[in-house]
Symmetry: C2
Amino acid sequence: MTEVPAVEARQTGSQRVVSYFKERILRGHLKVGDRVMPERELAQELNVGRPLLREVMKSLVMLGFLDVRQGSGTYIARADIRVLSDFFTFCLSQEQDILEDVMQARMAIECQAIRLACERANEADLSRIGQWLSALIETLGDPEAGGRADFMFHQSIVAASHSRSLTTLYGAMSELLQRSHVQRRATTYRNPNIVRVLVEAHREVFLSIVAKDADQADRRLREHFAIGDDLRRKSLIETYRSGLERKLN
Amino acid sequence: MTEVPAVEARQTGSQRVVSYFKERILRGHLKVGDRVMPERELAQELNVGRPLLREVMKSLVMLGFLDVRQGSGTYIARADIRVLSDFFTFCLSQEQDILEDVMQARMAIECQAIRLACERANEADLSRIGQWLSALIETLGDPEAGGRADFMFHQSIVAASHSRSLTTLYGAMSELLQRSHVQRRATTYRNPNIVRVLVEAHREVFLSIVAKDADQADRRLREHFAIGDDLRRKSLIETYRSGLERKLN
DNA sequence: TGGGAGCATTGGTAAGACCAATGTAGTCCG
DNA sequence: CGGACTACATTGGTCTTACCAATGCTCCCA
């Protein structure tokens, strides 16, 4: 783990605790659901104080590696993607412009997922995507609900890839992405022409999945993203123009 | 963060500490490089004992949020991608088959990154990619060094995207990916025909970046991945055949 | 003016104490 | 005999106090 000593042969107590868990988890001696030795006993075995042991174990809890139950014991946890989500949220708080760049990661994942969805989607997957397409159409006048339906449409496509890596990464970014969807909706929902174009684009995406055409699905999805990009460009131009006119007044 | 209380109005000490940091970091009151109040003082202000405060802060250190210097103080850290790397490593240890699926995430990121690289790569980027292509060719007989050069070739492409999200995600998977590269090399380096095809595929990838043709670059990269897939399929067939012949003997 | 020493500050760690939650075993009653 | 309740043991949660280790700052001397 990140606190492994770089050079020092003799480990600090803290490092010994980290190593104890890292080794046993990574080598499979401790598996999901396995119970860890009680704190007092483990502290003794590792020759550290209990507070130190608890510090490290608290860290592992928050990293999602351990699951602690008071009165019962400490168990190896199943990996929890909220850790990734927290991490991305933290990154965003450091760089206010990152939401724009996260779109690149979003496109990466969705375009790969849609290719897999063309191979792997079952009837339930297709039905779900179709339902969210309908929901998207029904909520055109409402940026909040529409944004959510839009997000769920996309999320269903990623789920239809049946790839744990892709769904994990997408899930990690879902908070950021939902925010992004609502924002994009808020800039578009009043213009009927744009709304119609967007609905058509989503429909084409869905149809290409049904047709199991991976290249076309990828292309349609990228076209769909490009509509949003054009939108934002026009919106900036208008903002700039009206800003100028206000200055001249 | 993941330990925020679901229902309880009155927070435990532990939760108060988490909230203290979450609020200040996410709202920008504490920025990268800012120094945090000393432990004893902060413990008093939050009405908790120092060991408890230290537990939470240790967690935040391992999540990459804080940087602690003994004798100096605690500072808000710059996000550290090694946290993601640890997390993926942990996930892998839980599911032995995940390395295969990580390839999907790899393809997602690289195919999006190569599109961006076609727009954004500067002379230094292109030069670096070219150098790793040469290194790859020079190390054809050595799976270890060749695997590394192969990985670095790909990593340079992702870096040329100049997208923080993509480079962050790719960095998080880099340990897994390097392992994957070495393994793939170990199954191919003895067959001159396959090696020649692979070298050509890498060269085509590079040339399409230089040509700034995003669609072609994407396509070439996918073709390159497909060669590896064919390889593995053939390898499985042979394994199955020789397994059968051994049974008949 | 620069270097060294001393002291204050801040983090690192431990022992011991006590509280909170859970699990287990034993007993009693229907 | 089975289920419910109680008591106690176990395990985690938290705190106080003490001491050690590392860094930074200030003052004094050459």
